[in-house]
Amino acid sequence: MRRRPIIVLACVLIGSATASAQPAETGALTPPLSPRNASYTITARLDPATRTITGSEVITWRNITTKPATDLQFHLYWNAWKNTRSTFMRERALGSTGPGPAGDDAHRRADEWAHIDVTALKVGGSDLTGLKRFIAPDDDNPDDETVMAIPLAQPIGAGVAVTIDIRWTAHVPRTFARTGAIGDFFFIAQWFPKLGVLQDDGWNCHQFHAATEFFADFGVYDVSLTVPSGWPVGATGVRRERVDHHDRTSTHRYYQEDVHDFAWTTSPDYLERTARFEHPTLPPVEMRLLLQPEHAGQADRHFDATRTALQYYGEWYGAYPYGHITIVDPAYQSGAGGMEYPTLFTAGTRWLAPPRVTTPEGVTVHEAGHQFWYGIVATNEFEHAWMDEGFNTFSTARAVAQVYDPNYLALRYFGGFIPWVFGDIALRRETEGNRLAGYRRDAKSDAQSTPTFRYFPATGGSITYNKTALWLNTMERWLGWPTLQRIMSAYFEEWKFRHPKPDDYFEVVNAVTGRDLGWYFDQVYRSSNVFDYGVQDLKSARDGDHYRTSVIVRRYGEAIFPVDVAVTFRNRDRVVEHWDGNDRWKLYSYDRPSQAVAAQVDPDRVLLLDVDYTNNSNTLEPKGGAAATKWSLKWMVWLQDCLLSCVALV
């Protein structure tokens, strides 16, 4: 453990060299980048008419822990959408306003729900189908069937490999959690019986939860998909062959090494576009876009946004090694947008997508960015979702700011169809990009160190995405981007194709900075306390031929962070104090020839987690009245227009 700083620094130095592993147009990567201990060979057939998938798979699994496995545990994610009694659906209802199931769930037709049934299971040739049982390790919910356990008569020892044959059938739902179908559009993810991750302390195989995503080991995926002929297919990996059958179906075989999941999509409506990412120091990437016809004019926007992610994430963290990426523009109402899978992601746009607004760019950069934070650095999203979603939200905002600045607020009217761009409101990376407003509303809902699947479902996203982005950007403003960039690239280099935990990241931070920043993570990670510093009072009155100035600054929140306090005087002198931020309040006094005009805590807004920045300053020349007048007059026109709409009925 003590050698870690050396390892980290070495990784930083050699990072650019190792990052350029061979891109492959065949899905093969040599030498292997990951342990490849859970590889899947899958054959599946989609019947669009009945929305049924019939599949079989051969899993080659190697126990890479130090202990024998006495059972096998599989995710059967689609059983989360079997009925309203699953843990997923119960948690989803927690976030809804009504007493029953969330949203449209109550009105779903019977054929719009899903299920996955394992019909046969052999381990090492022995038929263990009859031994399968459902377990609920997270909440003991007897109605949850998303984790299947198979006890083993013969434990699988450390380092031993085993072959598992499984046959199953599944019904494709109307979309849940970005998976399902609408019309002829199919997006199929989390769709096959999938092993959990065996760790030294046992299986890490959580039930499917409403607010969390996934976790799996790396492997090789060789997947043959049979769909109607003429229907384009997009999938993880590279298509190696297509065989057309007499029954008007075609089998597409996709192959990819060193990934930990496999998703695919098909629809007869897709337009296909291709482009290439090229960069002086990063490996080229072939980009394939499956686009909805009504978005035909937005192909370049999707490609440019993907290039933005590949370029900046590549320059900042490390190279994208796969050599190809598939961008899926999902169908309207499919609910499949904005999701990441290895070498494939779903974007999300609208029919009316005005320029100067980051739709579709924002979501495209974000999901493409997940290839790095999730795809390559494969954290446990059940327990530490912030490690990919938060890191990626921060990175997205930073990348978007490089290319799409300024971009503006757009609101949508008339059922959400008609956008209107507010050219007065340029969105800032630090606040809107990192989603400060969302964090502020939910700041105390959970400590970030709580396992993600135990976050309150309705507010978990704010802690996962927004809080992380804000504390990372705070680190950037506090330590400087060069330092944070070294931290992130060192962490990426050390943990790519592995499963890091929070302490692994914190150790990299300490190693790169040469400081123990545990106190910072105590504030932002291990606590739900909020930051709120402010100026309580500013007085500056003549006392003889001097002005006596007093500034009282206060810590209103429970969380602690060192902040600057700046006092500006009428003669333009500016005094900057450094306050450790520990005490509840602090007094600064000055006897100076000039009167003070303003005092401000954290004038450079380093601490982006401060939930009330308005109270951070105090001036003796306030413009609050003038600003309030201006805005109330604006509002009055809105009110008058509202009244006129009402009186149209008189």
């Binding site: 400060l436 920045y613 306030p622 600003a627 007048t629 007059l633 009055m636 006129l644 009925l649």
Partner: protein, 329 residues
């Protein structure tokens, strides 16, 4: 269609009415704006955040304010800026978005005031000559309670349209229509179709109630049910003219809104630009009010044109008796 320019002429010849209803609008909106101003000023306090809020948009501050706002304050959102305000209200109207109670209260008061002045306004346009303040308010007073009774009927109809028909169209039918739609344009067209259906129903109701008021004033009707049936009869007999006139007036509305879309001021600064922006906003409000009055005036003109004597008003022009004290002198 001669009623259309005739209506505009009658409105233009009575600028006091236009100014009066604008004053009514100010009367209701100014106090609430003052309340909101107090909220904003209190939240800004002596913060430097006010500097950027004064010189442009401080979106961070707006969001902080929104997060702690209650009552009136929750309506202070970016959508109030420029033409966004109009889109917000039109969209809320068509999508039946509920407003906070304080806004509903203000709107109710505003509607009540309009019900009070409606008789005076239509009487003025029907006579097409100055009725002066006493004539105006006498007519307002005479028709106030009649129009209140009519308002009960209107309330029932609009409650049905917005309380039952709209939810049926947009919360039940629309989701069914687009349930399997995977193309956004198709869904949008479906929604536009439902907007048209709902808009036509609202327009039909509005047109009937407009002519009910016109007939009540011109014919001095006391029965509002009778006025409504009379209005329906009139529209049936003069379907093409009534609908054409309504569409022409609606086109005026579109023109006024379109013009405002072109010139609507953005956030602006404090000082002169703030007041210029406010004046532009008020010109838009006056434009909308003018359109509203043209609706009534042109419909009055159309109805009178169909009578044997154009310009006919059954009720004698009110005159004030001299006071006994004056006689004694």
């Amino acid at each position: 269609m001669s009623a259309w320019p005739e209506g505009m002429r009658r409105v233009n010849r009575a600028p006091a009415i236009l100014l009066g209803v604008w004053a009514l609008t100010l009367l209701v909106s100014l106090p609430l704006a003052a309340v909101l101003r107090g909220m904003l000023a209190q939240h800004l306090g002596r913060s430097l955040a006010a500097d950027t809020a004064a010189s442009g948009v401080n979106y961070d501050w707006m969001q902080e304010f929104s997060d702690q706002a209650a009552g009136l304050g929750v309506t202070f959102k970016p959508t109030i800026i420029g033409f966004g305000a109009v889109l917000d209200n039109l969209s809320a109207f068509m999508d039946n978005v509920h407003r906070p109670a304080v806004i509903v209260g203000a709107a109710s008061l505003y509607i009540l005031l309009w019900i009070f002045v409606a008789g005076g306004i239509i009487d003025r346009y029907a006579r097409d000559r100055a009725t002066h303040a006493y004539g105006f308010f006498a007519s307002s007073g005479v028709f106030f309670f009649r129009f209140l009774r009519l308002a009960v009927v209107q309330w029932i109809v609009y409650a049905f349209l917005f309380g039952s028909m709209h939810p049926w169209l947009f919360d039940r039918l629309y989701p069914r229509m687009i349930h399997d739609t995977s193309v956004e344009r198709t869904a949008f067209l479906a929604r536009v179709a439902l907007y048209l259906v709902f808009g036509l129903l609202v327009a039909a109701a509005t047109m009937i109630f407009d002519y009910a008021k016109v007939r009540a004033v011109v014919e001095d009707r006391r029965s509002m049910i009778g006025a409504v049936t009379g209005a329906v009869g009139f529209i049936q007999r003069n379907y093409a003219a009534a609908v054409s006139l309504f569409l022409a007036n609606f086109a005026l509305f579109v023109i006024v809104v379109g013009l405002y879309a072109l010139i609507a001021p953005g956030a602006g600064r404090t000082g002169a630009s703030m007041w210029i922006g406010f004046v532009v906003g008020q010109l838009y409000v006056i434009g909308r009010l003018w359109v509203k009055l043209v609706f009534w005036a042109s419909e009055t003109a159309l109805f009178q044109n169909r009578l044997a004597h154009a310009g006919y008003v059954a009720r004698p022009e009110p005159t004030w008796p001299d006071s006994p004290a004056a006689d004694a002198i």
